[in-house]
Symmetry: C2
Subunit: 220 residues, 2 copies
Amino acid sequence: MPAQTSKVSLPVIKRLPKYYRYLNNLAADGRDKISSSELARMMGTTASQVRQDFNCFGGFGQQGIGYKVDVLLAEISKLLFGSGNLLPTILIGAGRLGTAVSSFISRNTNGYRLLAVFDINPALIGQEMAGVKIHALDELEAFCAVHKPVVAVLCVPRQSAIEVSDELVRLGIQGFWNFSHYDLSVKYPDVTVENVHLGDSLMSLGYRLRERSEQNGPEL
Amino acid sequence: MPAQTSKVSLPVIKRLPKYYRYLNNLAADGRDKISSSELARMMGTTASQVRQDFNCFGGFGQQGIGYKVDVLLAEISKLLFGSGNLLPTILIGAGRLGTAVSSFISRNTNGYRLLAVFDINPALIGQEMAGVKIHALDELEAFCAVHKPVVAVLCVPRQSAIEVSDELVRLGIQGFWNFSHYDLSVKYPDVTVENVHLGDSLMSLGYRLRERSEQNGPEL
DNA sequence: TAGATTGTTAATCGATTAACAATC
DNA sequence: TAGATTGTTAATCGATTAACAATC
């Protein structure tokens, strides 16, 4: 059975966390109702898109009134966090990026539970990060057999990612939050991958800035 | 004159760094020619898209032969890095994320030049990061007047981002690499923004994983 | 020449936007 | 009721894919 995609398309999925953020802000401000047009104005999108998005997961608004903030929040939370079970997660790479990223995983607001960190640097092994122990990479197989992590976060260089991802998939990892410059999805089409290629992001910003300055004058 | 967008569309721009990476790998492997179909197979895309993309910036291939790797690399480098002038950049926020991110900016491969780091934490001010000094946020205005940074990297919490972005725009910043949970583009439509919302990225991965597990069985 | 591969146009696909009837 | 706003269908837009003539 080939991976059947739900009726919620990828662009909509990517927008869900943004809705979630804005609705949380509204709730914090004590707002209880919001119209698609006001939300759209705040978020820099269109009322059409907001309604289209909300309808695709059936969140009921009230015609003539708008949407109830708490209902929407509950609906979107259910989508993003399911039944509330946290996804058991391991982090590979305890360098600077791994250090920064570990706090996102262990924040109790994102739906993950950090089980352990792995690294090859002997100076780090045995220390703690974000409340869990840093293990030697050698212990990966034994650890996974016992704790069954579902998600792996890759904060290692390209070459290490190539080497470790094979083993992770073999050990049952179902999803990657991938910061390495290695494209996992080509090799493992059945694994869910979210890439964060910081270098790529920075380069494409550069393109857009230089393109703009060409129009305005050769300042850069 | 309203910001006229070039003929290179945003989806293509976002793919440029990926082409750049793959072509560098090919060059490192000593390959001098590549066909659109082979490149597409490696990258997990289609030959049509590769040719369509390459044609939109006029990179000449050779019919019957393919593309010369060095020509393509030169062409894409020119697009990504322009004439080679590095973009003068400041980093706001010297926390864990700022620390990790600073190395991306000061890598000489991305087209940026890190001028200084700013923070409000007195314990950090005066120290060094990625080879530059950490300044007090108070000094921002004076520093910008002298050094004219073009890009600001925001590694601060949402509330600080709200406060500091206004001043940065006023001081002439033209582009943001934005890690804060604050949507700059709504307020400053004329500024080029590249958002990296790590929390959003993590949440949408969670959605996709839970969606998948619903189809395969209620394991999570 | 024959085979391969590009450049480019046309067809398809999907996402966004617009419109409007339903209804609170 | 009148005004406002949703739910939903239709129209538009743009990006991706397919096709094929040009040509190395």
